[in-house]
Symmetry: C2
Subunit: 125 residues, 2 copies
């Protein structure tokens, strides 16, 4: 049995999502115990949506699911690292490959890369 | 001016720390506004220690500081990604290179790799 420390942070712990093939960081999301167990049992990354307050199978709307290839836990048992195969072209709801497309440069933000899909076409159907 | 959303999570946001050269995830820590500004101004990763409730220059005890090479912000402005040069051999207080040395395999934990230093020698002087 894998004991994660969900209590330290009020029931949710962060999950870093890394592209298994390239090492790129795709996003960070949160899991509760139920999301972690669903991820283990289905092999598809499942998170807890803080805004919608519900379990959230990543890609359930966009089709851009994340197939979990490896799971790592940190020293304190309060952070998860998922190495995934990102189905579809992008992980971010903005259409960018990665959510981390804003680079800090000289005290301001520079947008890196271009969206790979139009969010309105994916989410507003 | 860079606006991060510290309020959503009560003043602290997670910072993913990635080895700039290899792409390996080294650790996850938390920053408040002051830690973020200190990181920007000094170029050394500075976090907020939730357990000690104080600013924490990573490596101040061990010497294993993190030189910040690139900073990324995510789509929602509530997560930071630091790409760093890890001074010394290891980022984790256990002596492991990465904090994510526990691999989930068949429902249990397998320890990956060996500590690169003895924590008692580093922290108990």
């Amino acid at each position: 049995m894998i004991q994660l420390d969900f209590e330290k942070t009020g029931g949710l712990i962060p999950a870093i999502v890394q592209d298994e093939a390239t090492g790129e960081i795709l996003m960070l999301a949160y899991m509760n115990q139920q999301a972690f167990e669903a991820t283990l049992s289905t092999g598809k990354a499942t998170y807890y949506s803080r805004s919608r307050q519900t379990l959230w199978v990543k890609g359930e709307t966009s089709g851009n699911v994340q197939l979990v290839k490896e799971i790592r836990i940190d020293c304190d048992n309060d952070t998860i690292l998922l190495k995934v195969e990102q189905v579809g072209r992008a992980a971010c709801h903005t259409g960018h490959r990665s959510c981390f497309y804003k680079k800090v440069e000289n005290g301001s933000i520079r947008i890196m890369g271009e969206p790979l899909f139009d969010p309105e076409e994916v989410y507003d159907k």
